[in-house]
Amino acid sequence: MPTYGKGLRGLSILTLLTITAALTLVFFYAPLDANQGFIQKIFYIHVPLAIVSLCGFVIGGVLGVMHLRTGDRRYDMRSYVAIHMSLIFGVAALISGSIWAKASWGHWWVWDDPTLVSYLIVVLMFATYTPFRFSIEDPERQARYASVFAILGGAFVPLNFVAVRAAQGLVHPRVLTVSGGNLPGPMLLTFLISLVGVALLYATLWKYEMAAKNARIQLRALRRRVLGDDDISPLQRTAAPSL
């Protein structure tokens, strides 16, 4: 059984340092935006959260493919944790985006912006992943169906992204493009450091949750070996995958 806690301390320190550096750059280095002024600082947290959460959903799908290909339940657990973490980041991105919308456009939510609505659809779709998963009792079927869900959802994310980019009448500003984008150097540097910081935070929390789940599984297996089936208390019936 793998030990996910290995390297967690180093990763946590690196994450802390990167996020501290990013926050320093955001508030003391990146220039104020000519149009939005200080409000634009939300960009450095909102956009990395959204990008990392979408990448996490895709990673969940890729891990789902690996689970179906190999039949190894560890990939299913990794996929589950990746989607779970992405949902948390997605909720944070939605709330921070809503605050930015209120400050910038005067409304908490704008329904005619394809970027906002499509992101909400993706988050809501993956919000159904957990209830869907736990509605299936048989562990094998549960893992298989959850992987299929993760793959379909993961494939939907890039398709959705392309569709939104192709859509007309965009309200959302386009600052990141294939040709380099509209960000000036200091802003781009700050954004990239913020993106790396949020991505590292995602990786750290993913590893943290994997380590916790792994410890619970090992504890449960040990308990079963020592005490037998009938002595398993409700504590051991918590959310933890079987391997």
């Binding site: 200080f38 600082k41 709330i95 921070s96 998963r133 619970r216 089936d229 398993i232």
Partner: protein
């Protein structure tokens, strides 16, 4: 050095409140997650302590054969079988 001097820290006008709120949301979401994980960790630790206690009791009973025999007499019949393999018990139905 002038770059640092030009950038404001946290202006407390309308924009500052929104920016602060966005970053606070980020921190609060992460803190809630870490708190939930801490509760789960403490639960796992309690289970570990409980398991260690059970093992200690079993070892003590094994060391005293008379007590062990008495314990076997009151043990439910289902517990005489081989322990189930990991991942196939009633607690393994879901993630």
């Amino acid at each position: 050095m002038t770059t640092f001097a030009l950038a404001p820290a946290l202006p407390l006008h309308a924009a500052g409140k929104y920016v602060a709120a966005a970053y606070i949301v980020f921190v609060v979401v992460i803190l809630i997650y870490v708190m939930i994980m801490a509760v789960r960790l403490s639960r796992t630790e309690r289970a570990l302590v409980e398991l260690n206690g059970d093992i200690a009791k079993r070892d003590a009973a094994a060391a005293d054969p008379a007590e062990s025999a008495a314990r076997d007499d009151v043990r439910p019949p289902g517990l005489d079988r081989e322990p189930a393999p990991a991942g196939r018990g009633p607690g393994d139905s879901s993630l």
